[in-house]
């Protein structure tokens, strides 16, 4: 027979456990903490003068491709990923041939050319609205990243708009939320802030404008960090395999639900795509699963694509204003990826 005293004691223990959990969350996920400021510069001065890319003569906005779904080889899923935290890419009902796109913004200078389009797929409860920024730069140094409050640390947060303003960004998107974790490689603008890896795939942007995505097992830190790494993000998963939708994503079923998404795509050296999928707003946009996001990225002619922090964090800012409609007005985040108006003179 369960008596009252037993229930009271168990309840008391529950409350203590709850307080412990609250203290844990407060310490690890809320209290701002400055990180180790002993960063290592990875790029040498000579290398910063290296690659220059050409801008396209004229932007062909009507360019389209066959919308048949390209999928990775079943016999060789992903990058040989054997991680148990992975899901098989499902066949989604996404019909990209019905896409309605509207050009929102265009910008061209001597060093950067970008086009932002709003894309709508489907209708009713299944409608997906996403924004694509198609960017060409003459120098990789124009693709920059910034920390909240300008400082590397944990739980330091600002809105995307604030960070974009602080850094004079032409276009900015939410980053990989490095500040939510204590582990994961962080290379920003050629500076190594954190070198350990975790279970997540790593996206590396090199100074020559190329991008590569590694599984933690493939990531040979010593060798890769010697190759003029300009940026490295630690979130994922990787969505494409040489332009084809991957058959396996290194994520969990919970994270694979229809959600707002943010991704960076690589179409060639000097040519990048930011894709922002809005979500959790029935009738406007339901959000995207990883498979749907991968299909969108493949449709955007990306060779590689990498998922960044989604949900409420997903935001795209152009000239100081939100392009998309972040869930509940968005939230403060730890970092952004952005393009400067003019080439950095550093």
């Amino acid at each position: 027979m369960i008596n009252n005293k037993f229930i009271k004691v168990i309840l008391f223990d529950f409350i203590i456990a709850l307080l412990c959990f609250g203290a844990f969350i407060l310490y690890f996920y809320i209290m701002p903490q400055k990180g180790d400021q002993n960063a290592t510069v990875l790029i040498n001065e000579a290398a910063t003068l290296s690659q220059a890319f050409a801008l396209p003569d004229s932007k062909d906005n009507t360019k389209s491709r066959s919308f048949g779904r390209k999928r990775g080889n079943k016999e060789n899923p992903g990058n040989g990923n054997t991680n148990t935290k992975s899901i098989v890419s499902e066949n989604s009902s996404l019909d990209l041939s019905d896409k309605i796109n509207t050009t929102l913004e265009s910008y061209k200078s001597d060093t950067i050319q970008l086009n932002i389009t709003k894309n709508e797929l489907g209708e009713g409860n299944d409608k997906i609205t996403y924004y694509t920024a198609d960017i060409y730069v003459t120098s990789i140094k124009q693709l920059q990243t910034a920390f909240a409050n300008g400082t590397f640390g944990k739980n330091l947060r600002e809105t995307t708009v604030q960070m974009a303003e602080d850094n004079d960004a032409l276009l900015a998107i939410s980053g990989d939320s490095y500040g939510n974790n204590e582990t994961g490689i962080v290379v920003r603008n050629g500076i190594l802030y954190r070198s350990d890896t975790n279970d997540a795939e790593i996206c590396v942007l090199f100074l020559d404008g190329t991008m590569k995505i590694y599984t933690p097992e493939e990531f040979d830190q010593e060798q890769i960090l010697e190759c003029d790494v300009w940026q490295a993000w630690n979130f994922g998963p990787s969505l494409l395999d040489n332009g084809s939708v991957k058959t396996v994503f290194q994520t969990t079923s919970y994270l694979n639900g229809s959600n707002p998404r943010c991704a960076i795509g690589y179409a060639g050296p000097g040519h990048y795509k930011f894709v922002l999928v809005d979500g959790r707003n029935t009738g406007y946009s339901k959000g995207a699963t990883m498979s749907e996001l991968a299909e969108i990225m493949a449709n955007e002619d990306c060779l590689l694509a990498y998922n960044l922090d989604g949900g409420k964090s997903s935001s795209m800012v152009y000239q100081g204003n939100y392009v998309n409609q972040p869930v509940d007005g968005g939230r403060t985040i730890s970092d952004i990826i952005y393009f400067k108006k003019e080439e950095s003179k550093q």
Partner: protein
């Protein structure tokens, strides 16, 4: 052995188990947040082992004394 001393270890085991189980479930849902890959979770798991050892040792000792 004083009763409060025995009780303390069983309560500690209960609280730590609840705490770690919560972290484990959250980490399963969202591994990107690294709920288990930090020094507090590591310490809690170690402390749980110690308290479990002591609680079970007391329980076994009581049975055979």
């Amino acid at each position: 052995m004083k009763e409060w001393y025995v009780n303390l270890w069983s309560h500690l085991t209960f609280i730590l188990s609840l705490f770690i189980a919560t972290l484990w479930v959250l980490n399963l849902l969202n591994p990107m947040m690294n709920f288990l890959n930090n020094w507090i979770a590591d310490s809690a798991i170690f402390l749980l082992c110690i308290s479990s050892l002591i609680t079970s040792a007391i329980s076994i000792w009581r049975r055979y004394r």
